[in-house]
């Protein structure tokens, strides 16, 4: 039997904050600090705006094809210039005019090629998939308050900074936390809770515990062990399984294929170590 009650825990800060510059809720990349600083005693320098960086970041596609247009237009301009001045369009280096034209042509070609290189490395955007399920916050009722606030902090960090939409923490055989989106059972349309026994007997859990290392399933639909995680929404795209020491596991579900970057993985393993250190000190009553 597992004990758990649904608690509505919300630390009083902006719960709808989502990681998306340039939304005004997050400080924008290099902006002169908005001065509500009358009466402030901060005497240091203020950051300056970088117009080029802002412009390029906002008009990424346009800027990528810009060199092509510049190069192409110059090419035509050179030929037009030749035609208008009545000189035969012969590419030899005999006269000054020809040499100047050749150099301009060379530069135009360089620009066109650079534009093509920029276009070729344009990243493909993968759209996030809205998870199907119910929103939940299930926290084990025996946990002391500092642990719960640490869990809530971890959940807020993950959901704001990464594409994480579901978080499940299991420690010492007990499901301590199930938060975010969870699967909805079709029979009674209620939350699918975590069956820790079943999970711990499965190969997914055993593999992670044996290796002791984080396991990143970048595209969950390709993974046969998907059936061992029935509590996650059915269309969860990516999952990170983070072991918490050798006694627990954190299951982190995301809404984008390959949505967790390597920096996210590093941060998640650091958070895993911290949670393990914190939980290791707590004496959890066992109901098994």
């Amino acid at each position: 039997m597992e004990a758990g009650i649904i608690l509505r825990f919300r630390i009083p800060w902006n719960p709808n904050r989502r990681f998306s510059p340039p939304s005004p809720s997050l400080p924008v990349f290099i902006r002169a600090s908005s001065t509500s600083q009358s009466g402030s005693s901060y005497r240091g320098p203020k950051p300056t705006k970088n117009l080029v960086a802002d412009f390029v970041s906002r008009n990424d596609d346009g800027v990528r094809s810009l060199p092509i247009y510049v190069g192409g237009a110059s090419l035509l301009a050179v030929l037009f210039n030749r035609a208008v001045s009545g000189i035969a369009p012969v590419a030899d280096a005999s006269s000054s005019q020809s040499r100047a034209d050749l150099l301009a042509l060379g530069l135009a070609v360089t620009n066109i090629l650079t534009g093509l290189v920029w276009l070729s490395i344009r990243p493909k955007t993968i759209t996030p998939v809205q998870p199907q399920g119910v929103e939940c916050e299930v926290v084990n009722s025996d946990l002391p308050a500092p642990i719960v606030s640490e869990f809530i902090w971890a959940w807020d960090s993950l959901s704001t900074s990464t594409c994480c939409r579901s978080l499940v923490i299991i420690y010492d055989g007990i499901c301590l936390l199930q938060i975010g989106m969870a699967a909805e059972s079709p029979e009674d349309r209620r939350l699918v809770t975590v069956n820790t026994d079943k999970l711990m007997k499965g190969s997914v859990y055993k593999g992670v515990m044996k290796s002791g290392a984080q396991n990143y399933l970048a595209n969950l639909s390709l993974y046969p062990g998907r059936s061992e995680l029935p509590f996650l929404p059915s269309n969860t795209q990516a999952v990170i399984l983070q072991p918490l020491g050798d006694k627990g596991i954190a299951v982190i579900g995301g809404n984008t294929v390959r949505g967790f970057t390597s920096s996210d993985q590093a941060w998640i393993s650091s958070i895993g170590e911290k949670l393990d250190a914190t939980l290791g000190r707590v004496n959890l009553p066992r109901y098994l």
Binding site: W13, F19, P22, P45, V56, S57, S74, A104, T125, K274
Partner: protein, 288 residues
């Protein structure tokens, strides 16, 4: 001509570009594996997994993305040479060609700079340690053990997961300082902390209301003598505790790095998450 599929997999930020050493004559083009960790910019949460065919001369130390700049300088000077070595008066047509060529050259010179801000541009520099500055780790002793542990963990994680070389966290006036700082040597921990507190008061860092990000070493950071020489990026993140009415600052987090543009949007989101850990009421703060 050898071609190799290049995998620009995201790697930890301190990876160096590995280049094949070849004796490349001009015109022999060789492809090599490039470990450029791409940087994620803009509203894109995903770090970019790029597999790109890239041609290179194989000359160590030559960055091919700067090729348009070299070509711009080279052809621009050839154009000027052509202009001044021509015999007789230069015709209108030639002047037009040369004007076009020079503006194209200027544009080509600017291309690598613009390309730095595009998504997927591998703009990372290797994290280097500053030559001067001593490595210190000091935590104020007036705080509870759990807060000390949190501070130690947070500073450790910031140093490990980002290209940070120096961290300072201030919670209600109590400091934790870690990393390479330009502090006087031969000071005891308590004296060091007092020295830092005085410096912080001088600059007025406790009153910073918005996040300040200095991605390049502007002349402003010269006034921060506590930072070691060679600091390029600086980020100050205040902890905002908005009570009803006024916004009280609970403290701040200051990190510095020797790389320019060291903190991408994703890094800043995680740094904000770490800062959030220290927000809010601290019943754990021992009152002396």
């Amino acid at each position: 001509m050898s071609i190799q599929v290049v995998n620009l997999l995201p790697l930890p930020k301190f990876a160096i570009r590995s280049r094949a050493k070849t004796s490349a004559g001009f015109g022999r083009v060789v492809a090599r594996a490039d470990n450029d960790p791409p940087r994620s910019v803009g509203g894109d949460q995903q770090q970019l997994n790029l597999s790109v065919l890239r041609f290179t001369f194989g000359i160590p130390g030559l960055d091919e993305s700067y090729l348009p700049r070299f070509i711009g300088y080279g052809f621009g000077s050839l154009l000027l040479l052509n202009h001044f070595s021509g015999s007789g008066p230069t015709s209108d047509a030639q002047l037009r060609s040369e004007a076009l060529g020079l503006s194209l050259a200027a544009f080509s010179v600017a291309l690598p700079y613009i390309g730095k801000f595009l998504k997927g541009a591998g703009m990372t520099e290797q994290r280097t340690l500053p030559e001067e500055g001593n490595q210190i780790f000091a935590i104020s002793s007036n705080i509870s053990d759990s807060l000390k542990e949190d501070l130690a963990w947070a500073t450790y994680v910031l140093l490990r997961n980002t290209s940070t070389i120096a961290v300072m966290i201030s919670v209600r006036g109590e400091l934790c300082v870690r990393g390479y700082w330009n502090s006087p040597v031969q000071m005891s921990k308590a004296q060091l902390l007092d020295w830092f507190k005085r410096k912080v008061d001088e600059i007025g860092l406790s009153d910073v209301k918005d996040t300040l990000y200095f991605p390049q070493n502007n002349s402003g950071s010269a006034s921060w003598e506590i930072l070691s020489e060679g600091t390029r990026s600086l980020l100050v993140q205040p902890f905002v505790q908005s009570t009803v009415g006024s916004q009280k600052m609970d403290g701040f987090l200051l990190i510095a790095s020797t790389a320019e543009y060291a903190y991408s949007d994703k890094d800043r989101a995680w740094i904000q998450a770490i800062a959030n850990k220290f927000r809010g009421p601290h019943e754990l703060l021992a009152v002396t």
